[in-house]
Amino acid sequence: MACLLVPAAEAVVTTVVQKAIEKKEKAAAENGNQAENKAETSQMASFSKKLKWLNNMLWGGAALLAFEHIWHGEIVPWFPFLTAASNPQDTAEMLHEMSTVGVSMAVLVTAIWGVMVAVSYRIENRAKKAV
């Protein structure tokens, strides 16, 4: 019905966070003469890149799911845009779906991204130790 709204909302938040981190990185790179800053910069740079993986998954998934909802007539180009929002009974059902399916989608995507990040840090650390 509108389960995609939850991952889409998360995507908005993670995109804002990623842009903020990117700004910090640029600022840190400009003052990158100190060793402490350099170390922090390199760590933060890799994190913003990793956050982009989550953004791509959330935005991509939400976009393709939105297409599916349009296909099934659950999203329409006129107000209130969601057919389920036209009567209170459907709205309640829609909110229930968002709180169950939508939240589960966002949680699973984030959890899988968390595993990806953990594995990549491990690989990076192993490579550092090998050097």
């Binding site: 389960c3 991952p7 791509n56 998954m57 393709l64 297409f67 599916e68 399916v101 699973l108």
Partner: protein
Amino acid sequence: MTLLTSLFAAIICTIIWYKKAPDKEMRMGTLSLIYWGASIMWFVDAIFEFVELKAEYFTPEPLDMLNDFFLGISVVALGLIIWLIILLIRDPRGVIKKMLSKKEA
């Protein structure tokens, strides 16, 4: 069927990305993440549907299957269009930039 179609698209894109790595010019990583994101979301949707329908979930009507497959193919095409737009905007080889500067000259 939609889940399977997007899953196969994700797997194929990941294989291509891995084969081309570390070359990021074609942004295959972005395309595969788009499909993976959608596949994970549809997987969750499938779990909830399975809980509701039980074994019936695995015996869909042929017409529903066809419609879902058609939707899956359309979703793959949309993913490719999104990726193409990102690729053309980023223009990693500078093809569009060169074209425009030639026209200006």
